[in-house]
């Protein structure tokens, strides 16, 4: 396991093409330490989510370098991207649950991506993590019947259930009340301490800043501050 599971070097990113082409990310250089909890801050439009999706192999790297788990992402084959994505847990801003699947089934999707496996044990694992996130009585609910906060917790469960090496979270606590937000971040922190899981989280939530190992602030696509509180 490399010491810096996430590394970027001279990373630039552009949106649009031709005259409308606009640079959204300027020369981002950063090393993220294994097991740490890093928070990306900055006003909206500053490029936090773009950076997160670049690290998460969800967007084509155009210029510069992004290394995830020791693997260069830029120009990587589709098969390589697929295998990297499986080692990451991405918690989406809009939770992105599958509307036709129950909470448990959504979480199972996070396990079945690895193929095969004992269905009974998978189901037990899915139930266990839902229970940990306080959703024991919502296991078989469809997302349509869950509150925003419950959906967000299901999305967290789906990302964590397969023990990813890196967790990328886009505002995971936005829809959560203070207590469950705190719980989720504590869980991520514990995973970092015990399993060496590396977390990068985009957030506006001042309540959780104190738990971060490192806070990187972006503005207009540039890193303007990088602190270790």
């Amino acid at each position: 396991m490399p010491d810096a599971p996430i590394k970027t070097l001279g990373l630039n990113h552009f949106f649009g093409s031709g005259d409308a082409r606009k640079q959204a990310m300027f020369d981002i250089n950063m090393d993220i330490t294994r097991g740490s909890l890093t928070i990306l801050m900055g006003p909206s439009g500053s490029g936090k989510t773009t950076l997160l999706t670049l690290i998460g192999c969800l967007r084509d790297v155009q210029d510069g370098s992004v290394q995830v788990l020791g693997q260069e992402v830029r120009g990587a084959s589709e098969a390589m991207l697929v295998s990297l994505r499986r080692r990451l847990g991405f918690i989406f801003q809009a939770h992105n649950l599958h509307e036709s699947l129950t909470a448990t089934q959504n979480v199972l999707m996070g396990l079945q991506v690895h193929g095969g496996g004992d269905p009974v044990r998978q189901r037990t694992a899915a139930h266990h993590i839902l229970d940990l996130l306080g959703l024991a009585d919502r296991r078989d609910y469809l997302p349509g019947n869950l509150s925003g906060g419950q959906k967000q917790r299901v999305a967290v469960a789906r990302a964590l259930v397969s023990n990813p090496e890196i967790i990328l979270a886009d505002e995971p606590t936005a829809a959560l009340d203070k207590e469950s937000g705190h719980n989720v971040v504590k869980m991520l922190k514990t995973l970092g301490d015990k399993r060496g899981t590396t977390t990068v989280m985009v957030t506006h939530d001042p309540r959780i800043l104190e738990m971060a190992d490192r806070i990187i602030t972006l503005e207009d696509g540039r890193i303007v501050s990088d602190t270790h509180p």
Binding site: V82, Q105, Q112
Partner: protein, 391 residues
């Protein structure tokens, strides 16, 4: 159902779950596929009716080889051939027996003023081996002059005529100065060729069609000796009967030619062929719409799966799963409604429109392939896009 599919696919049956998630959308999708099926079935049904009625007259006769004039088109739309050819043919080794066949179209005005056209076949009643078994059984009755057998399926014929004939009541009508008496029925079925059919002795035929001569039948039917192959005899006949304007065919070859002729040279055949083509085309468009709409509806969810590390094969698996489900659920009502409409068409036109297992199977297979391909094409956008752009 869900558990069963889970075992079958060794993953969650996402296709099934998302199809059945919204009942309204599921019904709409299934209706679309069913309608596409219906469309194709109707066109194939009409096309099939034309084919069935084209070869229906063949069920009257029993023969191995047919000698015809080359300027004829089909069995019932034939030129004339000198009867002398029959005597020549009888001298060819392997030919067991032969019979001239006379065919004419008899227009006939009913009592209510409407007219029907009856395709009339004149046969040698001394050679029952050349007609189908049920006609052969009635053949000696036709030795009485001006008698004929009438097809049960004749269109426009008053009900009492057919019912009366079956009960033994004869029905006479006047045609061209002759009185023709129908003394029994046969079962051929109406079609595109004529409103109905008559079988009579060659003597009666020549009386009803005074312009025809016994020396110029439409076809000469030839039966081969046992143990000699039809092809061998055809080759020998070709050698023994030189000179153009003669067509020597096996009965199967003749039927095939008739089908090809009707499908490619007659406006009705071309129109029906075009109908089948259009039906399939519109069916494909409907099926593609159904599948691509479904993929578009779930694109966000698929993008999430892709972001989680699912590969393109997984998405193809889902759309194939949906394709199979939609093909099956759309096929069943499509088939049932088609069969209902077939029955309606039969009642309204008397055309031999019938469902065949092979047709049903082919349409199902076609639907399955069309659904699968449509789904596969619709997922291409997913394959080419960055997941982050699809949320």
């Amino acid at each position: 159902m869900s558990w069963l599919l889970t075992l079958l696919f060794r993953r969650l049956p996402i296709g099934w779950l998302q199809l059945t998630h919204s009942r309204g959308r599921f019904i709409a999708a299934v209706s679309g596929v069913a309608f596409a099926n219906l469309l194709v079935f109707m066109q194939l049904g009409i096309m099939g009716a034309m084919n069935t009625s084209t070869v229906a007259p063949y069920s009257l006769i029993r023969t191995d080889i047919i000698l015809s004039s080359e300027d004829g088109n089909t069995l019932t739309d034939a030129g004339h051939i000198p009867r002398a050819r029959m005597f020549q043919a009888l001298g060819v080794p392997g030919v067991a027996t032969a019979m001239p066949l006379y065919i004419g179209n008899l227009p006939f005005t009913l009592e209510d003023g409407s007219s029907v056209s009856l395709l009339s076949f004149g046969v040698d009643i001394a050679k029952p081996g050349f007609t189908s078994a049920d006609i052969a059984a009635d053949l000696d009755q036709l030795s009485i002059e001006n008698t004929a057998l009438l097809d049960k399926g004749t269109r426009g014929m008053p009900d009492f005529v057919i019912k009366g004939l079956e009960a033994g009541t004869r029905y006479s009508f006047e045609t061209g100065g002759n009185t023709l008496t129908t003394i029994g029925t046969m079962d051929i079925g109406g079609g595109f060729l004529a409103d109905g059919m008559l079988v009579m002795s060659d003597q009666t035929f020549l009386r009803v069609f005074p312009k025809r001569s016994s020396g110029a039948p439409n076809h000469i039917l030839i039966q081969t000796e046992d143990g000699v192959s039809t092809d061998t005899v055809i080759t020998r006949l070709q050698a023994a009967l030189p000179g153009g304007n003669l067509r020597i065919q096996s009965v199967e070859g003749s039927a095939d030619n008739d089908l090809t002729f009707m499908a490619t040279e007659r406006p009705t055949g071309i129109i029906f062929g075009f109908g089948v083509f259009m039906g399939i085309l519109v069916g494909l468009v409907i099926v593609y719409q159904v599948l691509s709409t479904d993929v578009a509806d779930h694109l966000r969810e698929y993008a999430t799966f892709k972001a989680m590390g699912y590969g393109h094969r997984f998405f193809l698996g889902i759309v194939f799963e949906e394709a199979i489900i939609l093909a099956i659920f759309g096929f069943v009502p499509g088939l049932l409604v088609s069969m209902g409409l077939y029955a309606g068409l039969v009642a309204a036109t008397g055309l031999p429109v019938a469902m065949q297992v092979s047709r049903a199977f082919l349409v199902f297979l076609g639907t399955l392939i069309a659904c699968s391909l449509s789904g596969a094409i619709a997922t291409r956008r997913l394959a080419n896009a960055d997941p982050a752009d699809l949320f």
